[in-house]
């Protein structure tokens, strides 16, 4: 096999641009701008970062398609869409960073966000165990740092440590699983593993490997029972970091694991369908059952947990767990790689969920800059303090709640429809889909509690009007507009997927 390094470089130009942007920002800051005030340094770094991302977007859009470098990377439609998606979400996160409190090391913050984005880009296209693991670790290590970035806050340190410890353990599980897979099949190529695993799906060693991979997946997606890090990390991390953890990281992680589970471990998927003729359930042991249990448990834990929250970030964390339930349901329901176009619902859901979360955390970041934004009541009277923020928050939260015509509705509807299709309404996935619809009625309650504070309650006496920095305003308005456009004209978004 002849390896074409020139093609590899062409394909990885977006990654190269991001790394270059990060290094440029760091270098310029070190050499020239060190003495400037922090706000100015942040602004320069954000501009460099934003330009790097825009350039990367253009290259990701126009770049190479198909397998690259002997199939190590696979730029199929879902990969390209995900790369564009994570870049847009990262760009919006940078806008949110401009709206939040200026971090003590502003340029390093931006640089690490860009490194994380590099990891996300590779995760989206990785088609081989080694690269998948490296990409995941590049992204994860960057996110651990971001979660603990606020050195002055003990809670941020706690968030960073918890995220790091659980993340490290999950990485160990994943690596163990990978090594077993290599041992069983003798290959690290996903396609090759898929082929050779076909006959060994129920061997004990395969089952161990699959369980390891699914556990790591559960951690990445914050699906119950691997969700315990999420509330603490979301609560303690600086709001822009939490936005990145909850949005781009989730989209890239889902697509990575979707590929891993279907292309690599597709032979061990088992079955949860139903025979059309005899209407008997055709349940075959495999990871589908494990992941379906994750989905079911996440919806229950997330929605019930969110009901009890008074802290807005913890509430969003539990809502993220609930959404993770639907997302992993989507991973099962969107099926094997051979029917590629059906992955559209999963991508659409993860991407629009990411958008709504970035928007919600963006609003929290701006509110926290002027004072406190911990309890739900800290949002009281937002409509008076800043109508713009209140409007954006309403769009994002209603999208999370799945209210049409916002994008969150269509995403959830579509994933659940796919779940129903797997074996009809009376098959296990149909039940979980029906449960997801039911839980969304519970979800509306706590989302309305957030909006009640923001749009109905009167502001507390000493709450000043909020000034929204222009960059954050642009990011938030763009987010809200994207949610509306993607919901009302889904075809525009999906045409090229």
């Amino acid at each position: 096999m002849r390896l074409d390094y020139a093609e590899l470089f062409r394909a990885l130009r977006p990654e190269a641009l991001l790394v270059f942007g990060a290094l440029l920002a760091l270098g310029l800051d070190l050499a020239v701008f060190r003495a400037r005030p922090r706000e100015a340094r942040l602004r320069i770094a954000l501009w460099i970062g934003a330009l790097a991302i825009v350039a990367a977007l253009a290259h990701a859009w126009l770049g190479v398609r198909g397998p690259v470098f002997g199939g190590v990377l696979l730029f199929d439609r879902i990969a390209v869409a995900t790369r564009l998606g994570v870049l847009v979400l990262t760009l919006l996160t940078l806008g949110v960073t401009a709206g939040g409190r200026t971090p003590r090391h502003p340029v390093e913050h931006v640089a690490i966000v860009l490194f994380a984005a590099t990891g996300f880009l590779l995760m989206a296209a990785a088609n081989q165990l080694l690269l998948a693991f490296l990409a995941l670790e590049l992204a994860s290590v960057s996110l651990y740092v971001l979660a603990g970035f606020d050195k002055s806050s003990p809670r941020s340190a706690e968030a960073g440590l918890k995220y790091f410890l659980t993340g490290g353990i999950s990485a160990a599980f994943l690596l163990f699983g990978f090594s077993l897979l290599y041992g069983i099949t003798g290959s690290i190529e996903l396609a090759e593993i898929g082929k050779r695993l076909a006959g060994h799906a129920t061997e004990p060693l395969t089952i161990v490997a699959v369980v390891m991979v699914v556990a790591a997946f559960g951690f990445k997606a914050a699906a119950a029972p691997f969700h315990l890090w999420a509330p603490d990390a979301y609560e303690g991390a600086p709001a822009p970091s939490a936005a990145l953890i909850a949005s781009a990281a989730k989209l890239a992680g889902l697509v990575l694991f979707w590929r891993l589970l279907w292309s690599g471990l597709g032979g061990a998927a088992g079955d949860l369908g139903r025979d059309v003729e005899s209407t008997r359930l055709t349940v075959v042991n495999g990871w589908m059952i494990a992941v379906a249990l994750l989905a079911f448990a996440s919806m229950a834990v997330g929605n019930l947990g969110a009901l009890a929250q008074r802290n807005v970030r913890r509430l969003l964390a539990y809502s993220a767990i609930a959404h993770a339930g639907v997302l992993v349901l989507g991973v099962i329901a969107t099926g094997p790689v051979t029917t590629e176009p059906t992955v559209a619902p999963l991508f659409y859901y993860a991407a629009t969920y990411g958008l709504a979360t970035v928007g919600a955390f963006g609003v929290i970041a701006v509110v926290a800059r002027a004072g406190r934004c911990e309890e739900l009541t800290d949002l009281a009277g937002l409509h008076r303090r800043s109508p713009l923020l209140a409007g954006c928050l309403a769009v994002c939260v209603l999208s999370l709640a799945g209210i049409p015509p916002l994008a969150g509705f269509l995403g959830k509807f579509w994933v659940i429809l796919m779940a129903f299709r797997v074996g009809g309404a009376a098959a296990p996935l149909g039940w979980i889909g029906a449960a997801a619809v039911g839980w969304s009625a519970v979800g509306l309650y706590y989302y309305l509690l957030v909006l009640k504070q923001a749009l109905v309650a009167a502001p507390t006496e000493n709450a000043p009007p909020l000034r929204v920095p222009p960059a954050a305003a642009v990011a938030l308005v763009t987010t809200a507009a994207l949610l509306i456009v993607a919901g009302v004209w889904p075809d525009v978004v999906l045409r090229w997927l």
Partner: protein, 508 residues
Amino acid sequence: MNALPWTIYLSFLGALLALVAGARSAAAARVVALVTAVIGLGLTLVAAAKFVPAAGLQTLVNVPWLPQLGVRYHLAADGISLTLVVLTGLASVAGILFSWNLTARVGEFFACYLALIGGVYGVFLSADAFVFFVFYEIAIVPKYFLVANWGSTRREYGAMKLALYSFAGSALVLVGLLWAVVAQTGIDGVTSFDLATLAEHTARFLPPYQIGMFALVFLGFAILAGLWPLHTWAPTGHVAAPTGASMLLAGVVMKLGAYGCLRVALPLFPTGLAFFQPAIAWLAIAGILYAGVVALVQDDFKFVIGYSSVSHMGFVLLGLAAANPTAVAGAVLQMFSHGVIAGLLFAVVGRMVYERTHTRRLADLRRLPLHKLMPFAALVFTLAGLASMGMPGFSGFPAELAILIGAWKTSPAWAVGAGLGVLVAAAFTLRAIHVAFFGATENPSAPSAGNAAPVDHFEPITWPERAGALLLIAATVYVGLKPDVLLDWIGPALESDAMKFALRGGRP
């Protein structure tokens, strides 16, 4: 006719404009809202004038929306939709007129109000299950904010209950529809959300499937139509809501539920209807009687009207359950009639009386000679009360008569039960008229024991109130005297193949 979809777009556009205008001045927002609603009403009336009932379901727009899912943006109208669209136009204009004196966050109020109206127009014009559902859910959130923000008694509780009941209902509907659509794909290999296409396939499913699907979809919609014992959101929500929103909630939003039952549940699952027919009918009768008796003993004037709405919506559900053309036509007529009359009743109680006397307790009101202090309100309430009781000459009479006749055809016992309900309705309405307006036994200037200070005059009834009241009275009298206008629209709409099949109980 083809301009009807603009009622939807204009309402949403008007909502945005009202929001923007409201940031500058309250008056501008009011004018924007009124102009939007009047144009909407105008469009519906023009469409009504040009309407050819015999043409059946007339497609207004039909373009692909989400080809991957087989969803088309399909709007269409027949006589039933048109009846309800005209009702929406009337109720929206009247509601704005009765909200004219609002001063707090006016722009946002009318934005929510018009967004709700836009969703309602959308539901009544949808011919695709997905589009139907989207508009149905769009209508939920504005209701919450209308009640939570501008409401009165226990507004946050009432608003949340309203939103959650509606949303839980729509969750049931969604599961039922998904089940039907997936089964259609599985059995016939067709993926379409078009209601007519769906009906062709789902109406031929085996009975157990139809029964299950019907139960989910009908129950989901019936919650919003106030089916006993899931009606409890309605009185609390209506009472907590500001006047304009109560008029909409009782006037058109409850109709969304009934319309969903009629448009989706009946033609899609006729065997399911046949199976549940007696259960629905008896629940409807229980609702008519229970809500009527409860209305009889309320001390809060607005709760009387709130429960009366549940009682009158019971007739609509009974008409649907009776499932013959007479009863169903009566049910549609009753939807229109109740929409107009409930609007009037809430307007008198919430705007004319409460905002002047600042009490809704009948015990306090009976001390005031309201028929002398506000004769216009007394007149309007008496007329609306007579219409509500089903007096000939008002729209309630032909509607309830048709339902009773239709119910008798299916089962005389139902007609007897519902007939008792008519008596109860007369009792609680007369009691409300008497106690609230003609109950004063003392000299008005004498000191009273309650909180209400003795008064000898109130701020006069304003022109928007007069205009709104006249509009609605004219509508109920016109339909009362010439019910044929609406019945001629509704009749052919029940002649479609799917509807005929449904009204035969799914038998060929």
